[in-house]
């Protein structure tokens, strides 16, 4: 089961204008930097991007926004990005904002053959407009549908050519869920290891969910909010 591709160009070669993409990451943490850069370079447009956030002005999905390559964003939180806000308020960019937990569950459902589920999140808000409401145990819930994508693009810490992935720290976030939901899932990893090196017992994403894998380069891993505490005097 060799899913190894030579490089990022090979991995994204058949991603075309107008497609729907899922992109892992929370803020700039755990985003597929190499694939995003390659998509910018490819110049494809009219993309629908499903991603919890939209990057910052000059990094992450912000790079695709700058070049007007994105037609529609499906996200939960899009602060930290002035260009995004400008495009959205001017109507250049379609935006579907959905609760973060519903976004996660909808991606997971999409990869799991569960077409729809009920959740309390968003009941009574504009998120619920046009959605079925049903009471369970006296509490209102809304019906949310699964999400899927032509390509899911995720970033892992380690991976092998079978597609098994291990994430690091909170860079895990949406990555394993989106990996399940792509028609084709591309994983870029910081470190490529031999099959068998990852402990089968602690693999986060089994290889079955991944169709292409490659070792990424020059990870910047930018920090959005660098917060530190003082060293105590010794």
């Amino acid at each position: 089961m060799n899913k190894l591709v030579a490089n990022v160009q090979e991995a994204v070669k058949d991603i075309e204008s107008g497609m729907t993409l899922m992109l892992g990451g929370f803020g700039l943490c755990g985003i597929p930097e190499n694939c995003i850069a390659a998509l910018v370079k490819k110049g494809i447009t009219n993309l629908t991007c499903i991603s919890n956030n939209a990057g910052v002005d000059d990094f992450g999905l912000g790079l695709l926004l700058q070049k007007r390559q994105i037609k529609k964003m499906i996200s939960s939180y899009v602060g930290e990005n002035d260009e995004f806000e400008r495009q959205m308020l001017s109507g250049e960019l379609e935006v579907d904002l959905i609760p973060q937990g519903s976004l996660a569950a909808r991606c997971q459902a999409g990869g799991s053959g569960v077409p729809a589920f009920f959740t309390p999140a968003g009941y009574g808000t504009e998120v619920a407009f046009g959605k079925e409401v049903r009471y369970f145990d006296g509490k209102p819930h809304i019906l949310e549908h699964a999400l899927s994508a032509d390509f899911a693009i995720v970033k892992a810490w380690k991976g092998d050519r079978y597609g098994n992935l291990l994430f690091k720290g909170t860079a895990r976030n949406f990555n394993p869920l989106m990996a399940m939901a792509g028609q084709i899932t591309i994983a870029e990893v910081e470190e490529l290891v031999e099959p068998g090196e990852l402990d089968p017992n602690t693999i986060h994403t089994p290889g079955i969910f991944v169709q292409r894998i490659f070792q990424g380069e020059k990870y910047e891993k930018r920090i959005e909010q660098r917060t530190v505490r003082q060293r105590e005097n010794s």
Binding site: V78, P99, Q100, Q108, G169, Q225, T227, V228, R229
Partner: protein, 218 residues
């Protein structure tokens, strides 16, 4: 009158031993600094960590270890990391005993608005809608009035809602108020603040019964 730290200190008094707690961005984050003696709580951050510890020492920041506010953090011993679906399973499944978050508006029936100002500010709801729709115990931490001096405790929210009839308690710079079927019930006054001042700053239904004690904050 309390400052932001004061609000955080007062809410910290609501923490109970062995609670799992989700703190929103802003004032709620400060609460972690004022955990009462003998109270053991664990902080969940919805981007995927339970057992969130303090900020890292300078030079030890890890881009792969952040909280929901995108701040660099450290894990406590016994912490665990998980994906976003599992994180919201904890939240939706009521495994978290207390949620504290900020708000732009709270109505006297417990409605909350904190994610959107139509045509002007659209950052998104993030995890707030899941949190308020699921948690049994939601405290709002906010200023009693906005920058224009208008009350944020209303008869009805004017902004798009984040959740309906969900807030249980509001702690502001002026007061502690419970949400009851009859409206905001005044529980405590901030140091030096009169009931009259609170009445004037509260647009929603306000219940004042008996003597209202002053908060005890050290």
């Amino acid at each position: 009158m309390l400052d932001k730290k004061g609000i955080a200190k007062r809410i910290a008094q609501e923490l109970r031993h062995n609670w799992y707690v989700n703190l929103g961005i802003g004032i709620p984050t400060l609460i972690a600094n004022y955990i009462p003696e003998g109270i053991d709580v664990e902080f969940q951050s919805e981007n995927g960590i339970l057992g969130m510890g303090p900020f890292p020492l300078e030079g030890e920041e890890d881009a792969d270890m952040i909280n929901a506010g995108k701040q660099t953090i450290t894990p406590m011993p016994g912490a665990s990391i998980f994906d976003s679906a599992t994180s919201f399973a904890m939240i939706r499944g009521k495994h978290i005993q207390l949620t504290v978050l900020g708000a732009m508006e709270v109505a006297d029936n417990g409605d909350i608005a904190n994610w959107k100002i139509p045509g002007r500010m659209v950052k998104g709801m993030g995890g707030a809608m899941d949190l308020v729709a699921s948690a049994d115990n939601i405290i709002v931490a906010m200023m009693h009035t906005n920058k224009r001096g208008e009350s944020k405790l209303l008869k009805q929210c004017s902004l798009p809602l984040t959740g309906v009839k969900c807030v249980k308690k509001v702690v502001t710079n002026l007061a502690v108020l419970d949400i009851t079927p009859e409206g905001f019930k005044l529980i405590e006054r901030a140091p030096g603040v009169t009931v009259e001042e609170i009445k004037n700053a509260t647009e929603g239904r306000l219940i004042v019964e008996g003597n209202i004690p002053e908060m005890k904050i050290d």
